[in-house]
Symmetry: C2
Subunit: 699 residues, 2 copies
Amino acid sequence: MKESLDYFFNPSSVAVIGATTRTGPGVFNPVDILLDKGYRGKIYPVNPKAQDILGVKSYPSVSDIPGPVDLALISTGRTLIPELVRQCVKSGVRGIIVISQGFADADSKGKELQVELMNAIAGTGVRMLGPNTLGLVNNFDSFITSFIHFNTMLAPVGVICQSGMFLTAHDEIFNGCGYAADIGNAADLGFIDIMEYYRRKDSIKVINLHMEGIRGGKAFLELSRAVTLEKPVIVYKTGRTEEGSRAVGSHSGSLAGEDHVYAAAFRQAGIIRAESIDELRDFNKSLIKFNQVPGNRVAVVTVTGGGGIAVLDAIQSCGLVPALLKPETVAEIGKLLPDWMGVSNPVDFWPAAMIYGFDEVYPQILNHVLSDPGVDILVCVINAYYPPGEKNTVNFNFIIEAAREHPDKLVAVWTLGAAKRYWTQFLEEQGQVVAYDSPERLARALGALYNYHHHIRTRKYDEVIKAGPPAPLTIDIKGMSGAAPGDKAMEILAGAGIPVVKDIFARNLEEAANASAELGYPVALKVVSPQVLHKTEAGGVRLDIRDAQGLKNAYLSMLEEVQEKSPGASIQGVLVQRYLSGGIELILGSKMDAEFGPVLVFGTGGIYTEIMRDVAFRIAPVSPAEALEMIGETRAGRLLQGVRGQEKADLNALVKAITCLSDLVTNNPEISEVDINPLLATSKGVVALDGRVIFGVGS
Amino acid sequence: MKESLDYFFNPSSVAVIGATTRTGPGVFNPVDILLDKGYRGKIYPVNPKAQDILGVKSYPSVSDIPGPVDLALISTGRTLIPELVRQCVKSGVRGIIVISQGFADADSKGKELQVELMNAIAGTGVRMLGPNTLGLVNNFDSFITSFIHFNTMLAPVGVICQSGMFLTAHDEIFNGCGYAADIGNAADLGFIDIMEYYRRKDSIKVINLHMEGIRGGKAFLELSRAVTLEKPVIVYKTGRTEEGSRAVGSHSGSLAGEDHVYAAAFRQAGIIRAESIDELRDFNKSLIKFNQVPGNRVAVVTVTGGGGIAVLDAIQSCGLVPALLKPETVAEIGKLLPDWMGVSNPVDFWPAAMIYGFDEVYPQILNHVLSDPGVDILVCVINAYYPPGEKNTVNFNFIIEAAREHPDKLVAVWTLGAAKRYWTQFLEEQGQVVAYDSPERLARALGALYNYHHHIRTRKYDEVIKAGPPAPLTIDIKGMSGAAPGDKAMEILAGAGIPVVKDIFARNLEEAANASAELGYPVALKVVSPQVLHKTEAGGVRLDIRDAQGLKNAYLSMLEEVQEKSPGASIQGVLVQRYLSGGIELILGSKMDAEFGPVLVFGTGGIYTEIMRDVAFRIAPVSPAEALEMIGETRAGRLLQGVRGQEKADLNALVKAITCLSDLVTNNPEISEVDINPLLATSKGVVALDGRVIFGVGS
């Protein structure tokens, strides 16, 4: 029985609604392409003015078609389309692709029309791809819905994209594909439906996403976390706009730009990010060819020493390391080289080739290196100056043979020279070898491959999901909106299980003096004013006050400075805190993202927060293991390990604070932003010295 | 009259010493290649056993050659070569290329042989390229010294490399070249000689360096500073080894790794760094084609909206910005589009093409965008699915015509699709257009082009060189070695013009108490011990001591901690300093580099120094403008501008401190490392709170 998306990708019959009778250059006729590519199902052109289209019998409307219709392609003026969709539904069509533009991609009228389309299929079980799409490609069954001609090339690759170019140039961009779908405006079918479809297809080994944005980030994160354990998912994300002048309520809000949120989600989901179009091709062919990588130790065999060094340079920034050859390997290779030449990695065998001839030494060298137990990956630099069969010096078949004899190792090639495309094709078609255009592209692709097989695929799924239900908040936050007052914010954080500094609210100098005596000097003062959001900038903080005289001086000077810097601010009083010195100042916070929910921020705090931007992001909720991972991603995390005479901080307490904040913001979606800054970390624990909690409008 | 290097690059006669009589696959015969490429000078093979080689009369030795010999190529066993070089010199040969390996690239015997070669030419006026080189390429005159066959391709590009692969694959790597020289071991001729030669050749528009390392960095920096004002210089630097376990005496020493020193030199010289082999090709063709870029505002014209967004994404990380189209342009383009479609950048004209046809609208759109005064650079995304002449939808000739009609603007193309190489060649041959393989490669190349024409070429040379002679140091440092004692280090810094905190040396608690009373509380204590280099780590620092009782507690606890952490350290006493709070903690330092001389380090100091690595490097001496540039490169620099409630620091005082340190280490090369950390910066000036000065061995 067909799954619902089989009606899209592999339909038995297709109605082409709005098909033109014309063909040839400058005419965009899907019937032409269906025929040209050899689609084997029934084609029903629909055009009230035509008898037949390119020799195929045409029908005035979809309801006139005699047999069942799996899929309808609609391409007409936008205002006609809602009615056509309703006709399709009525006629029993199972899937609809709306090719036309001018819906949510356009003006307000278009947005209304798109709602009409959704209403037309609502509750009917009929699904829709688009509008504003080139449709889809199924190269397994030669089914292409496009109205533009392009080359097709089969590979076990699934593509989900938001632009037709990833369909039309799939041969170049992905080195071929099996299925590709342009989700267009994604009014109905989107990333999640189609990823789930590709997940279940054994014919698809690698899934690719071109993403400009996503709705329903949470569900996407959950699905892709599971999918990446089964097959690799690669994303090419565009539309990294800076949110320049957006009003920002907190540091966490300003730090967690849109691209940071996506990056955090991709990382948590185990999705590999391609930073360029070139990487899409390189990553796909690597992940298809190699189901495993034994390790990350790379040896290079080359007749150009400079090329070998370039390879070893490049791999080291991609998570791979130069292999250290065993003494036996060095000795065996040394026998082939002149006395004066040492053997190391890269293995430059040029003089050996000059003495004994390439055909004699090349297979031997390859075998010695691949037999070395300290080598996981062999990279050959080949001088591809002429196409196969012409005057190339080296017989590159030896590489294919060596790879075949050492199936436990990975063999990759940098094809250097103008004939590289011929040799890349030759090597990749003949053997268990992948060839790359430059040392840097080779390094990034092999690094991604290693990362997938050694970190992503092998990770424990339960390590990255929440363990147990979160503790309920002990503070009542119902009906709050805007920024919580300073003392209330700290109360909420304490109620969530995050240690906060002890403080006392004082309305005047006398109360502040009493509070200081009660807490014990040294103390710190912080202004309390609804108008003052960033106290440090406003001059509303005084630290390390040692005695009553110091308190008086500090109190008066602080109020004067605040009034000067924020004229008209209503000062309700001050918070008196015990002053704590030493330790590392951190920021811990969160920001509500419309698609992904709360995003956690952790990193260097204090005056360095915004300048250093030394922060890690995660979509909440996070497990303790993920909290530890966040800490480890930051430079602050290294400081917490106790460098430069700092005491090692209490990481357990810090992990607990992160998971407590994660619980707080996950359970209370009315909280839009949290800043704990500084969160002071010492060997004795962590304590929030200042905190802000902002509630969303309408909570 | 010929310049000395003309004898190498364009000789009238060449002796090929050690020429083999054989030819064909697997035989490496330079005579074969000289004949094959069509060299027009005299060829004199030298081989005692041959009458002729490939039909060219052969001579038993170089002294038997009847006519004058401009250049000799030597390729024989290494031990024979010193005598052959002496014969060449005696016979009046002007230039010698030693192809053979096994010299300084090999064992100790090889190093001795290389010294013999140098002795053989010393004082004779004869120059040598190599040993261990493939020689050179002159594509203007079809003169190639290689013994390996490869394709040649002419372009106005000069190449200087340390590996033969940049000669043999010059067509692919650089998109062709005019001159190329492999300097091999660079025993005699090196980067400087050949760069000076290319500089004077009008036929060379761009100079490329493949550099693994350089001797004589200072002279290289000086020459390339001048050359980059005249023509662009690109470097591909390999061999970025980490100096892992090297013993490090100072933070400045550990921060300024070898690659940082080269990066600083390239930046100061105005050399463009290619981060990949791909960039070499892209940068060269861009710099050759375009002698100017009007500005950095980029508009994209495309029929794939997704592709347009990818381009605008990519350019923004390369110093370019999306153009904001003028209302008139928007209005004109809008006339061609359906009502519901807005016009913005990228300009997606697909619906217009559907309505009116590509040939009708494409030239109009291109003309509107190129006529917009807010657009400097036009990028066209073209769907190159089929080779020229096949079923491509769009007539790409319109791009060439548009570029021709708007010579004041720059037109670039992203060729998307498997037929890209045909279209790249077509467009670049026909018109004032450059085509790139991906949006990311396009962005990096145009970014480098903009940077060259707007920053490097136009910079004021006198801004980057030292103004006036430095002040002499007022402190005697003769005969010092190793780390200067704490008080002496601060004295040297003060003597160099850098403000240092006032301090008093105290040998015991009583003297410390007297010193504190004299300086006034609060004070800070720092241990003085020749064994304690990093005082903070050793527990040898106490800050913010408020009174006599506090002093006693601090003094005793500090000594106890130091003795515990550094057992056996001889404690000579303590330095008592006035304690200063507030301000930003910086590091200012220097490290002696064997090739480039003193390298300055500036950035975030204090506990964040090594963790943040927020530092800028420059080869000394630096001008005040360069010092300011260093500050601007760091995140600390932004903090100094007065963010987050910090007062704006006194940048003039900071610039002065940097130039004073620059003078100190330039004038006193016996100083191997300096660390001023922290250097405290406030609105009132800068002051060194702690400093270390290390003298080199043997000074």
